[in-house]
Symmetry: C2
């Protein structure tokens, strides 16, 4: 496999901007249209390969009045931003197992500007995820299965579900470090396991990292060195809890000259600083370190941040006691 070096690049590498989708978990998907349009333009200028607009959540499960539109990603809402999207930037949406009605909510590809549907699943719901993937693939979409929370699964279960996904029509398989608990050497080991199956079935491998231990960027570029090609990032790390791999660091690292850092820096100064000033809180902080070290869901840390708790030593004892 072509793994490249620090001074070369693999054209197979694709960058996925997940700012709206993972960021939507911070602000319930209430982004201004101007913000979204500017983000779209920024991604085009920066050479980003995919922009994920949000979730395709079922309106029968979620109350539409309680979320911004990017929780649902209606076709018309995306088109209001991108028109027919006559650009090289592809558009993706995420569908959670059990929370998306693919029959009803996913149009045939030739009626949609969406290019890719990524199905997010825990290990134990992979058969349901594969059902959704088959459905979306039949409708004409590029698809991936994003296996979440793998730090809580053992290798033999992971290998089993990789084989299942291998035999499905999914185009790609994602390593997802939901708890931001994985260290680079674990990511390299997992990359090897995923790539072995993916190569056999002619699929690509992607990574979605979280920054609880300031490792989202490091884990992403270590996965690149192992041969992982689809790289999730968000501008300024915007995303649930400690956030994600910062797009600006990733573009600074990648050597393909089509990637441009300048437009992303411009977007940060013009848009992201405003979000912070307006009180949106995200990114690395001590409570996330604690859930990361303990390999726990970040919800306990998110709760502490909301309450502005800074009694870190107590938080550590409390969260440790929750096993």
């Amino acid at each position: 496999m072509d793994k490249g070096t620090l001074l070369t690049f693999r054209p197979q590498i694709k960058v996925i901007d997940a700012t709206l989708r993972d960021g939507g978990l911070v602000n319930n998907f209430y982004f201004e249209d101007d913000f979204v349009k500017k983000l779209y333009d920024t991604n085009i200028q920066a050479g980003v390969d995919y922009m994920e607009f949000g979730y395709k959540a079922s309106k029968e499960i979620f109350d539409k009045s309680k979320f911004g539109k990017w929780k649902f990603c209606d076709e018309q809402d995306i088109r209001d931003i991108v028109g027919n999207n006559d650009t090289d930037l592809k558009i993706s949406v995420m569908a959670d197992v059990g929370r998306t009605d693919v029959d009803k909510d996913i149009l045939p590809k030739d009626e949609s500007v969406i290019d890719m549907v990524r199905v997010a699943s825990y290990v134990n719901t992979i058969p349901a995820a594969i059902d959704m993937v088959e459905h979306c693939a039949k409708k004409g979409y590029e698809t991936t299965v994003n296996i979440m929370a793998i730090s809580h699964s053992n290798d033999s279960d992971i290998k089993q579900v990789l084989e299942l996904i291998g035999q499905s029509p999914a185009d790609g398989i994602y390593i997802v470090d939901s708890y931001g608990s994985l260290y680079p050497e674990q990511i390299r080991r997992l990359s090897d396991i995923y790539l072995e199956v993916a190569t056999k079935y002619n699929k690509y491998v992607g990574i979605h990292a979280h920054n609880n231990q300031q490792l989202a960027f490091a884990n992403t570029i270590d996965a690149v060195a192992s041969g992982v090609n689809y790289l999730d990032a968000t501008i300024n790390s915007l995303g649930r809890g400690a956030g994600n791999c910062p797009l600006e660091l990733l573009l600074g690292f990648l050597k393909n000259p089509k990637y441009k850092l300048h437009p992303v820096l411009k977007f940060i100064e013009e848009e992201m600083l405003k979000l912070k000033e307006n009180g949106l809180v995200w990114g690395y902080d001590i409570p996330y370190l604690i859930t990361g070290v303990l390999d726990r869901h970040p919800s306990g840390a998110i709760d502490c941040i909301k309450k502005k708790r800074t009694d870190y030593a107590n938080i550590y004892q409390e969260l440790m006691g929750l096993e």
Copy 2:
């Protein structure tokens, strides 16, 4: 060489708290005695191996009235904190080539509570560094040579100076990523180069990382996996510019049960938050990303942060033009 795994530990690994020394570069070494005493107690409770108090700067070169006392680390000032230091925590100080008068300012070891003198040097001043090391070793100290700014040196120069240091009485040799520009795969390559020479001469290798690209922790633990044993960190990353490897992340990673995270979290909530509230500014920010990506000295970024500039796209163009 024993490299250990994620679930074992090497007793040879030593953690050096450089909070006062690198942090002193942020506040001109003006730390309250209470802060320093509490940091000393915290390090003892946390199982940290060395605490670096500051520099042994020459008072003939630096005006004593313009810096806090930890720029000079007078014997009595250290003793006022640690008494005779009847603990397992060792005490280190740093001596810059050309800025320390080792003849005058370094006492014989049996008159001092200092255990280790670390000599910081660029590649081109290594012969002067070795002079200082010989002097300090003769006086009875553990010594290291910390080779700074190696991202601007080529491998053959680095190998030459490693050979020189190898033949000196230095106990350890440090990889220093002064500009926070090195990626994990470069750190692994450099670790191998350093360790080859160090092993030949029976010395240890250390790492001092900077966080310009959120890689200080990742680079440190990747160096550990390669066999590097002396690990610099600072509480809450306190240090020049983007700061250093956070001690709290490092202790969370290391598996030796003597290391305790709890006292460090307590110190952060009780002391570090106050420093921030009182206006001290340090840590990862976009201008440091820019100097890191560009492999430049952080001074340009520090200047932008001081001026509270957020025109990141312009800053990028300006700093790129400075080659």
